[in-house]
Symmetry: C2
Subunit: 461 residues, 2 copies
């Protein structure tokens, strides 16, 4: 009987365990979970803290009991200490520090990522939080419920920072968002980031860009955040929306090779260089489908896919990861902002003749009530016409997410931008136009970048 | 200077004219329009009659003035009488019956479709309406505004019938919908049609299936509709939601070959068999991309695409129509129902080993407020795993339309169903799940139809 041990109880780990049991119901699967919260939707933390999700238990993709019903053994509150790749075993320790050794035939490492501690003096002070685990969210929740804060500073305008600005505003706090760069969310172009900043301000968030945080200090019962050039703001709590890095100590000590961003190197079959050891999720390098090389792209969707592949292959399968396009979406108040593929600067950096066009279009026929503007940016190669990336901002109920997915599916197939016009997409006046906005944006790119015909005097329809 | 004449001022005709001018700004373009309403969104008529669109002028995709600003001459209220393909000219007559002849270098026929008069005694009575043109809608609107009807009977549960049931209910009428077949909307499977029928009934529509209408007669100031088996219903007005047929008399008399459903035969470059004569839109056969052969699939989206290609090729281009998948969506009260590709019975009829699975999934993570069920049916070939079609019903704001478009884009590329799982789609808890519902439905099909692994005991996530 094959023994499969999985280290990590989040998206990749649980996906691997479930898939292994699905493909081979005879495999014995043990999942080592560092805390008591297997298979939680970490993406849901901001909605728990906003109050939109009242019970944190609801954030579980599956309960522990559901996972165990699949024939999977969970070792909760156990830390993986060391892999012996020759002996094929894993040493773990429980909360009391008692060690034990698990023998494996196959091992899946799914140790995830951790926040990068920002180099800010005072980041260790009470009332300064990061948000990455269930435990982290309990600390913030305890602060919110017991201390009734009125004001929060959020450092960093990435996904978590934006979602927390929304969440804490929803919860009734006054929020200041400090962003080091010239605009929030540097994963989209500045013109779209401006739309997000407008939306944040419209909902009362004080957005300050170009703000380099110098330090956090105690100011009586409150905190003082100082930021260049020469400003100081008092607040009740600080949330640090930092970047993340792969958790790889366990793998590295066992001899696993590391690559981009020190993430674990894996094949597209999610194999490490260690015999019978697979790895998946936020701790590994991800195959970028357009670049055709590895990158570090920690995303929940990718973790699910990679975990599934690792689990299948750990029981003898031969699945391969098709690659990530970096497709992502975030909701900020009433807007959704989504992207897939490469930004122009990213595409240019690897040698594409990348050019971008921007178009603002109605999400559906404007005669039908409730039409909302969508702003879409299309990036493509000027020489080949190939689609390289797309970005879209609009009302979150204007099918922004699934419209970027049309572009993502086109990118998956390496389509040229003019070919998007050939797609047979659905239309009825309340939800689209005879040419979907994605196709109108494609037409705008083609019109601006094809010398073979004149640019239309009004927008394409 | 090239002279291009276009017959027909709806989607295909105006698209052809605009595209010709875009590609070759020197071409002289004249569009012959049978009525005074060029480029109107006929798909919008139900929303005009519901009152959601208060001014019918708003239904114009573009005004006549906007079209003329593109350098296009409009001949409104002119009927095309005859084509002389040898002499390269077209005879037209104005409203007073005065004939004139237009010389052309290239001609585009875009004469559209017309309702099939149903074989129902009494269909000529006053207060019995079809809905296909702006004029038709004015007649219904006049009835609604001047006669204050309280009850309507709609004959036919296709797209127009369903939209009019919604529209007239919205307008305050009591509505009875008579459908000959065992369920409404035979373009989707019965289990999804049931969801639509439930929605209609929930909004007060009296849905009667298996109702063969025998005749309509005057009953005092009202109408009486009799239908088998032996029923009679009195009403104030009747809307006949009939099928349509291509308008091809002009083309046929000139020697154009007809094909499926007597629609005009065209190449994928939208060429007829007549020299320098192109045709596009609801009057032509459409290349069906999965069947790889022509079919009759009159849809506004297709008309726009084909018109664009005809216009480009009429001025020397070489564009080819990529084919239709029959992608469509309709909103009925709070639901949208969408499909793309083939139904199981359609696929089986042409030799595919088609099997279908159905899954009901949440549109987004259920912990985030407002999650709504989506019911998706996936049809694929059991031997090859190839995706053949998809159908989806759910709340119209649950991204139903653009989710079917993900499937349509996958179909466009001939993907296998298991490959849908590889797509890198966007996720945030308010709009989706780490596996989009489209991917969960694909997983359900694979689990049900792949002998290589066990079916999961709970739904895939």
């Amino acid at each position: 009987m094959t023994q499969l041990v999985v280290v990590g109880g989040s998206d990749a780990g649980i996906s691997a365990a479930l898939r292994a049991r699905e493909v081979d119901p005879s495999v014995e699967v043990t999942v080592v979970v560092a805390d008591a919260f297997p298979n939680y939707s970490i993406c849901g933390l901001p909605f728990y803290l906003s109050g939109e999700v009242s019970d944190w238990h609801a954030l579980a993709h599956r309960t522990a009991a559901e996972i165990e019903r699949h024939g999977i053994t969970l070792l909760l509150d156990h830390a993986a200490q060391a892999i012996d790749p020759e002996a094929h075993n894993l040493t773990v320790s429980d909360a009391a520090g008692r060690a034990r050794t698990l023998a494996y035939d196959r091992l899946v490492i799914a140790t995830g990522a951790e926040p990068i501690p920002p180099a800010i003096p005072g980041r260790e002070l009470p009332s300064v939080y990061v948000l990455h685990t269930m435990e982290d969210s309990f600390h913030v929740q305890a602060h919110l419920t017991t201390r009734q804060p009125r004001h929060a500073v959020i450092v960093g305008g990435g996904y978590i920072g934006l979602e927390m600005a929304d969440a804490l505003t929803y919860r009734g706090l006054s929020v200041t968002l400090l962003q080091r760069g010239p605009s929030v969310l540097h994963s989209v172009d500045a013109s779209l980031a401006r739309l997000l900043e407008d939306e944040l301000r419209r909902h009362g968030v004080h957005v300050i860009t170009g703000a380099q945080v110098a330090g956090i200090s105690q100011a009586g019962s409150r905190l003082a955040v100082t930021y260049a050039p020469g400003n100081r703001i008092e607040t009740d709590l600080v949330v640090l929306g930092t970047g993340v890095r792969p958790v790889t100590r366990l793998a590295h000590l066992a001899g696993a090779m590391l690559g981009q961003h020190d993430a674990i190197q894996v094949t597209r079959r999610m194999e490490t260089n260690l015999p019978d050891v697979f790895a998946a999720g936020d701790c590994v390098e991800t195959w970028q489908r357009i670049l055709e090389r590895p990158a570090y792209l920690p995303l929940g969707t990718t973790a699910h896919k990679q975990g599934r592949i690792a689990g299948e292959n750990a029981v003898g399968g031969s699945a391969a990861f098709a690659g990530s396009l970096g497709t992502q979406v975030v909701k900020v108040f009433d807007l959704a902002v989504a992207r897939t593929g490469l930004l122009e600067r990213e595409a240019q950096a690897v040698g594409f003749a990348a050019v971008t066009s921007e178009a603002t279009l109605w999400d559906h026929k404007v005669y039908y009530p409730g039409a909302r503007p969508l702003t879409m940016r299309i990036t493509g190669d000027r020489h080949t016409g190939r689609l390289l990336g797309a970005q879209l901002v609009g009302h979150w109920q204007a099918e922004v997410a699934k419209r970027i997915d049309i572009a993502a599916t086109a990118l998956f197939h390496g389509m040229r931008i003019d070919e998007l016009i050939d797609l047979d997409l659905s239309y009825t006046p309340p939800v689209s136009s005879p040419w979907d906005p994605v196709q109108m944006a494609a037409q705008a790119w083609v019109a601006a970048n094809s010398p073979s015909f004149a640019i239309p005097t009004t927008g394409p329809e």
